[in-house]
């Protein structure tokens, strides 16, 4: 593998991690909830896409619709979760919230097993995305380029949403002070519901995008959610930009480990977490609350 292909492969690996971690950190930054159920939302997104696409070789429009449908359904599941469970626990301590979201994780995973079974599923990519292309004399898989493109679009979109929109202004105000937000006329319940939905949609999008590259089963989320929590810690709790930097760092480190130091494969993110916790315990860009994304 050349340096360029390793780099792109690492970024492509980091994109789904960024999507999951940015949802986690967004929800934590605004609502103060570390959502254990996030991994199960990721899996539901992947499983939905396997159902929509089935064993066919999808066209690009079909694939896009399937991915967006996966994200949208997971957003709805997330919003239902916020309305029925999470909202009623905002004033409780962190332990209660962690236990509640862990219970949701078990319920969603159980429901997923009931609907899709325990066996692994695989889907095809659209034919046009199955090949590769040459960039600077290096062979790059087209699906990796798609993942990098989607990651860039989501990162820019989140930045603009949080920093440049009226909604983002409300989000940042509520992240700092919900009582004050209410007092100036912001409907904080609605904003928090939408943030939970957006965070969940990002998890669903990640699951849907990764589905063609992995064997999808209800337990797929376990490894991913662990790495995503690590990314949130490395990037800093509450920082979407921190999650982006950390996900790219983890993805590229892992790709370089695979290419040049195979004995470190699977351990790079543990090393990064340990180093960050030692050197900068609040993470690369962390402030524990969502300020500037």
């Amino acid at each position: 593998m050349t340096l360029l292909s390793t780099l792109i492969s690492g970024v492509a690996y980091g994109v789904p991690l960024f999507l999951v971690a940015s949802g986690l950190t967004l929800i934590y930054g605004v609502i103060g909830v570390l959502n254990f159920a996030h991994g199960s939302f990721f899996v539901v997104g992947a499983l939905l896409v396997t159902t929509i696409i089935g064993s066919t070789v999808p066209t690009v429009p079909t694939f896009i619709i399937a991915v967006l449908a996966g994200a949208a359904v997971v957003a709805a599941v997330g919003m239902l979760t916020e309305t029925t469970v999470v909202r009623h626990l905002y004033r409780r301590d962190h332990i209660t919230m962690l236990l509640a979201t862990f219970a949701i994780l078990l319920i969603v995973e159980g429901a997923a097993e009931g609907i899709w079974g325990n066996s692994s599923r695989a889907i095809n990519k659209p034919e046009i995305l199955s090949g590769s292309t040459q960039i600077l004399g290096t062979t790059i898989p087209l699906y990796d380029i798609l993942l990098v493109f989607v990651g860039a679009v989501v990162a820019i979109g989140l930045f603009l949403l949080i920093n440049k929109s009226t909604f983002g202004r409300s989000v940042r105000a509520i992240a700092q002070d919900q009582v004050m937000g209410e007092a100036v006329g912001l409907n904080t319940k609605r904003v928090m519901l939408l943030v939970f939905g957006l965070g969940s949609a990002l998890a669903g999008l990640a699951g849907a995008l990764i589905a063609p590259n992995v064997s999808v089963s209800p337990s797929l989320g376990h490894a991913f959610i662990l790495q995503s929590f690590a990314i949130v810690i490395i990037g800093g709790l509450g920082s979407v930009t921190g999650s982006l930097v950390a996900a790219l760092l983890v993805g590229v480190s892992e790709a370089f480990a695979v290419a040049y130091a195979t004995y470190l494969t699977g351990f790079t993110f543990y090393i990064l977490v340990a180093v960050i916790l030692l050197v900068r315990p609040r993470g690369l860009l962390g402030s524990a609350k969502l300020g500037r994304a």
């Binding site: 009226t166 202004r169 409300s170 940042r172 105000a173 700092q176 002070d177 009582v179 004050m180 937000g181 209410e182 007092a183 100036v184 006329g185 912001l186 409907n187 904080t188 319940k189 300020g291 500037r292």
Partner: protein, 238 residues
């Protein structure tokens, strides 16, 4: 006449009763002061009016004849009752312009920002600065300006002089004195600063241990040193 009417309002934090059977009125165009020692229930009364979720309350609160007692805090704000809390609570990560924009309301005319800036000129010079860059006095000016952005009928100011230098307190007093006429609203101020309130307020209520124990004009209160001794000072204990 548009009034904010509080009738038999009681409030508690969990099991701790903080307010008992308090009734007050505030008309548009007037300034009313709430005086009392620490823990008398002044801040609790304002929080109960805006229906803060921190406490539970009974009684009735109407603004312009409509009950707001069971409305969410954001709906109370949108109905024209603005609250400026004691610790100011400016959004540190946002610029002053963004802080003002947060409170924009359908009630307000399109030129509300211009009106606010014209009448609190200090804020215009701060528009691009972030909340965390402001001094206490600047923050207080911005939070009052932010409250005015919603074109409220009633403005609730909780200890606006807290932590401010005497010179800034004087400037703040002059600024607040102009608000009822300039913005056609009623101002309800809680304060520890006796002179600040009596110079600004048309009428004053004294709260003690969660109850309204006296009300009258500022001049009447100034002429009643016995009341001041009994309810507001610590007498010879200090």
């Amino acid at each position: 006449m548009t009034e904010l009417v509080v009738t038999s309002l009681s409030a508690s934090y969990g099991l701790a009763v903080a307010l008992t059977d308090v009734s007050i009125t505030l008309r548009k165009g007037e300034t009313v002061g709430l005086l009392g020692r620490n823990g008398a229930g002044k801040t609790t009364l304002l929080k109960a009016i805006i229906n803060s979720t921190e406490l539970s309350s009974t009684g009735e609160v109407t603004a312009g004849g409509k009950s707001i007692r069971k409305a969410s805090t954001f709906k109370v704000a949108r109905s024209g009752v603005a609250w400026v809390p004691d610790n100011r609570r400016i959004v540190a990560a946002l610029s002053v312009a963004e802080n003002l924009d947060l409170a924009k309301s359908k009630r307000a005319s399109k030129d509300q920002l211009d009106r606010v800036l014209a009448n609190i000129p200090l804020v215009e010079t701060l528009l691009k600065r972030r909340g965390f860059e402001l001094s206490g006095g600047e923050q207080q000016a911005v939070t009052i300006a932010r409250a005015l952005m919603g074109a409220p009928d009633f403005l609730l100011l909780d200890e606006p002089t807290e932590g401010l230098a005497p010179l800034i307190v004087e400037q703040l007093q002059a600024s607040i004195a102009r608000l009822p006429d300039l913005f056609d609203l009623g101002v309800l101020i809680t304060e520890q600063n006796f002179c600040f309130v009596t110079e600004l307020a048309d009428r004053v209520y004294i709260l003690e241990t969660g109850q309204a124990v006296w009300n009258g004009t500022s001049d009447e209160l100034i002429g009643r040193p016995d009341l001041i001794d009994r309810h507001l000072s610590v007498g010879e204990k200090l």
